[in-house]
Each structure stands twice: as structure tokens, then as C-alpha cells.
Amino acid sequence: MKLLDRSKSTDFAAALAAAGYRVAAPVSDGGLVRIKEWAPGAEIAASEMPLNSMKDFLFPRTEVIGRWTLEGDGFASQDVRPDAPKTAVLFAKPCDAAALAVLDAVFNWDCKDCFYNAKRDAAAVAVLACGSADEHCFCTSVGGSPGEAHGADLLFRPADGGLRMIVEPLTAKGKALADAAGSALSEGQAQADPIARPAERFDPGKASAWLASNFESPLWKELSLPCLGCGACAYACPACHCFDIQDEGSRSESVRCRNWDSCGFGLFTLHAGGHNPRADQSARWRQRMMHKFSYFPQRFGRLACTGCGRCARLCQAGMDIARACARISPRENA
């Protein structure tokens, strides 16, 4: 079997960079781990849960989708092409790869979003199965698993007590990654390590069923009381995909950007005329829950949550979507 010594993680990244890939990997950055563009010298923290998800590389927080120069009474449109370099995402989390199906669905139903698709097509995703999970992980509650690689092109399995990884290309893109790795990979035998098993905290089917008939529940006010209405949860979420479109520019040149947006912000649904359908935070937080566990599944046949737990891990107010789901759909034996 193909093996990667953990100590050769950076050699793997370097080999891919030399082969022309932009390499994204979890990198230690001032004590915090972020998935970011790898550069020689950066220390890869392969097993860590990064602050951000890999959606940053497919659906970045800001992206130019139009560009114009002003000409006399009018404006001349410049051709804007997606910025989609060939990219290798290394040591992504299984829950992040699982979220690709959510992004694929929304950016391709009905009409296709070339900016997302160009990046998606140019990206090869290598997932590292999770040997450990923390108290916020809940992939097993939403149909995922720390050992699966849905959406990925290559799977790394931790082995030999974390010293090595077993390399399993899953697609042609994944095989190309393995081929480009050169001497960073070796042939040999290794014993796969046990996979983490986060507790199943709720039954998503029951949560969806409860949500479908409880839009008016008084529970929303109670559950949302701590929420202060920032966008931290949405921006850290691998599956959240709402965006704003804003123009920036000078008199002579302007660009149209799409920027991440969040249904948690009060301005998200504010009409120009002053009416705001979601006038308070309970309505906004309800939308977050409904969209992930009711509306999205109704339309696209899958949950818009993959249980990475980032939203709860970083929320200043202690909002916890898994806890809320457990509240509305307790497991029989919980």
C-alpha cells in the first residue's frame, strides 16, 4: 500500500507545489490552525481541525464577478474569468469534503455558477480521516463519519499510531495527486489506526420532522436568546453558501464582488422600503436551523450541515446547533 510518513507531510506539499499545484493545507499560524495556501517553511498540522473550512478555496469570502471601466455616457464591461488555479487541498476534514455536495447542489441546480464550478473542477481534495474528535464534533449525527471521504479524491487513513498515513486515491484527480507526490510517498505496510467515533447526539430525521411543523414554536425565542447576530457561525460553516453582491469602485473603474453573507445579520432581509420579514434574532436563527435541516433537505435531498461543529466551537455566546437539534429530537436512549 502507498504510505505517507507524517514527517513527510511538507515534502508531499512541496512535491505538489513543484508539480504546479496551489497547495492548501492546515497550517499553524500564530498558535491557531488555518487551512490556507501552503508556502515552503509553513508547518502543516495535518490532524488539527482548522478554524476555517476548505470552502474558502471554492467559494472565497470575496470574489470579483464583474468589472467595468466607465466610458463617456456608458460603461465597458471587462471579461471576468474565474480565478481557478489547479489546487490540491491536503488533509481536509471528512466533514468539509462532505459539505462539497451541499455547495455542488446549490451552485448547479437550475443554472450553473461558473465561479464555483471552475474552482471545484480545478481542485483535488485529499481527506484525512479523523483519529480523534472533540465535544463539538457531531458528523455521526448528520449521516457522516470521521472515516469517510465522500466528495474527496483521495483518502489518508491514519496508521501506526499516527506515524504514517495510508494513501488511497479515489478518483483520477486523487491518483494524479499520488503520482505527483514522487518520493514523498513510499510503498509498504501499515496498521490503520482506529477512527474517532463522536457520540450521536440527535436524530436528523426527527429534527427535520419537528422543524417542518414548528415554525411558530415558542422555543425559537428561548433558543436564540444568547445569539448576538454576528456571522461567525455562517462564515466558519463548510456548507453555508449565502452571499451578498456589492459594487466597489471609483469614477473610472468598478468591480462587482460577491461576499459571504449570513442570514444571522439583521440587514439580510431588510427591504428597501423598511419592512423586515425577519425582524428579530429568533426569526434569523430559526432560518439558520430551518434552512439546514428542513428547507435544504426538502429541495436537495440532503442536510446542509455536516457536523463539523465549528459554529459551536467558536460562538462567543455558546449557541450550539447540535444541542438545539438534540433538544427538538432527542434520541430514544439519550
Partner: protein
């Protein structure tokens, strides 16, 4: 041809007309004939577009002209923010950006042979205007046509000239103004491909029953229409629901108060249509902003029957 969903085309402002304080109508011509053909291949009444100006942004308005007029499109909008202010700063001959048509449409063909009742409030007449002209262009296909239209004040009524044409009996109702006070540029020319041969009488057609109303306090001394909120005016005019389809457009509060009146008149939820105005950005079912319940208003709407409307979470509308 770009595969960029968000790439707009360019429209030239052929004419403009001030309708009411801060409300303006643009007549717009396509500069790209390919886009124009594709637009009219897909356009049905009720659909909307994203009108914009690079550097300021885009804003959603309906297409206010009917598909039976294929040399231009029109839009009517109120100055309310950055984009609409920038658009109103544009002058005849200058260009704006446009994407569309987007969204679903009114099933006009399924209304053949039926009476039609249009109810609108304030700046929400434009989405109905395209339907109304579309219907009038093929007048013989339909039964009676009645319109109940209200605004906060007399000044806020839009399409005054067309109201005069539709209603006939209220030419001096606009604070002493006359229809000649409005430039004729907004007047739709005789149909070129439409179904009627009669054109548009300058005063009073007999085949439309128009009821105008203004909110109490919004009347002028010479106002000859009703003085009542739209739902009340509707109740007073008591149209028959038999073989009749109702179409309601207005601010959310007006819609909510009008629906019970229509139900009281015997209209079934499947025979009442309305449009939703949820905030939108992308217009193509990606950005998530217009999501309410299981629908994306930009794709599944903006046209809904009351039956569909009632199945949506009312707190999100």
C-alpha cells in the same frame, strides 16, 4: 457569450417619465440584439430583472411592459437607496445594466374566458401593468376586466396617464393636473403584434372598470375617487367572484389585509394570485437571500397563488 451568470447586458434609456414623487419609469432599448431576442423568447408577464449601474449595484424590479411590445422594455421604480438613486441620475441616451428575465410568471393563458380583477397598492402597480396591457392587447380572450388601485396620496398614484385611459372618468383627479401634463413618452404605442386593432383611446375605454382610491388624508380637494384603504375600497366595490381570477400586488401589509376580503367575496385560494417581494441579490437561486420556507422566491416566484402563499411561513414574508 459568457457563461458568467452575473454578467449583465446594456440597455439604453430611450425615454423616461416621472410618475410620482421619487418614482420614475424608464423605457429601455437593448443594445445587444442577441440578448433582446433571448429576452423576448423567455419573457412572460410577472417576471423581473436586475437593473443596475456598475459602481452602484443592482436592484430588482419587475418588467412593467408586456411581452406583446418587443421593441423595448419598461421599468418603474422608486428612489430608495444607492442603486435606485444612481439609476435616477441616468439620463435619456445613457445606458444602464440589466440581467433577466428571471422568475416565474402569471399563467395568463389559463385565464382565457375568465373575468379578471386586479388589485394594487402604491408602487406595486407596475407588475400588474404588464399583465393588464398584455390582457388588453388580447382583450377578446377575456371576460370583464376590473382594476382597484390605491395609493397613500393622489400624488403617489403611478401611471396617471394610463389610469386616465383605463378609467376615462377621472381626468382631472390629479391635483388639478391634466393628462397632457405628463410627457407622452411613456405612452405605449399601438400594438405591433398584439391582438387588438383598436389601439389606445386617449380618454376612457369602456372595457375596463377602474376604481381608484387614496388613503384617508391623501385626497386633494378635487379628488373624485374613493377615500379608503385598498382592502376597504375592494370590499365596497364588491366584485363578483364567479368565474373570476384576482391578482393582488402591494406592500406586505396590504396583501395580508386584502386576502380575507377576497375570501369573503367568495374567491378560492387557487384563483387568487399575488407576488412576493423578498429581498434578492443574485436572482438565480444561489445567494439564499430570498429563501422563505421551501422556496426561492427568485426561482419559484415571484408569482404565487394564495394557496401556495398560505403554505409558506408567514413570518418570513
Amino acid at each position: 457569450m459568457t457563461d458568467n451568470l452575473y454578467q449583465p447586458t446594456t440597455l439604453r434609456i430611450a425615454d423616461s417619465r416621472d410618475e410620482a414623487p421619487d418614482v420614475r419609469t424608464f423605457r429601455l432599448e437593448f443594445t445587444d440584439s442577441g440578448y433582446r431576442s433571448e429576452f423576448f423568447r423567455r419573457y412572460r408577464v410577472g417576471m423581473f430583472g436586475l437593473y443596475g449601474l456598475p459602481g452602484a449595484g443592482e436592484s430588482v424590479f419587475c418588467v412593467a411592459s408586456p411581452p406583446t411590445r418587443t421593441d423595448h422594455i419598461e421599468c418603474t421604480f422608486r428612489k430608495a437607496g444607492r442603486v435606485t438613486s444612481a439609476l435616477q441620475d441616468r439620463e435619456i441616451g445613457q445606458t444602464i445594466s440589466f440581467r433577466g428575465p428571471y422568475g416565474n410568471s402569471f399563467p395568463v393563458d389559463s385565464w382565457k374566458g375568465r373575468d379578471l380583477l386586479f388589485i394594487a397598492g402604491g408602487i406595486a402597480l407596475p407588475p400588474l401593468r404588464s399583465v393588464i396591457w398584455n390582457i388588453l392587447d388580447r382583450r377578446a380572450d377575456f371576460g370583464k376586466v376590473a382594476i382597484v388601485y390605491g395609493a397613500r396620496t393622489v400624488a403617489d398614484l403611478v401611471y396617471k396617464q394610463e389610469l386616465a385611459e383605463w378609467g376615462g372618468r377621472i381626468p382631472t383627479a390629479y391635483g388639478g393636473g391634466t393628462s397632457s401634463g405628463y410627457p407622452s413618452v411613456g405612452r405605449l404605442p399601438t400594438a405591433n403584434g398584439g391582438g387588438t386593432s383598436s389601439g389606445y383611446p386617449s380618454v376612457g375605454r369602456k372595457d375596463v372598470d377602474l376604481t381608484l382610491t387614496v388613503d384617508p388624508g391623501g385626497e386633494t380637494p378635487d379628488w373624485k375617487g374613493k377615500i379608503a384603504f385598498v382592502p376597504t375600497a375592494l370590499k365596497e366595490s364588491a366584485p363578483s367572484s364567479e368565474n373570476c381570477t384576482a391578482v393582488v400586488c402591494g406592500p406586505p401589509i396590504m396583501i395580508k389585509l386584502t386576502m380575507p376580503v377576497l375570501r369573503g367575496l367568495g374567491f378560492e385560494p387557487k384563483d387568487i394570485y399575488t407576488t412576493l417581494e423578498n429581498r434578492m441579490k443574485c436572482g438565480v437561486g444561489k445567494c439564499g437571500r430570498c429563501n422563505a420556507g421551501g422556496v426561492y422566491v427568485c426561482k419559484d416566484g415571484p408569482v404565487f397563488t394564495l394557496e401556495q402563499f398560505q403554505s409558506l411561513p408567514q413570518g418570513d414574508l
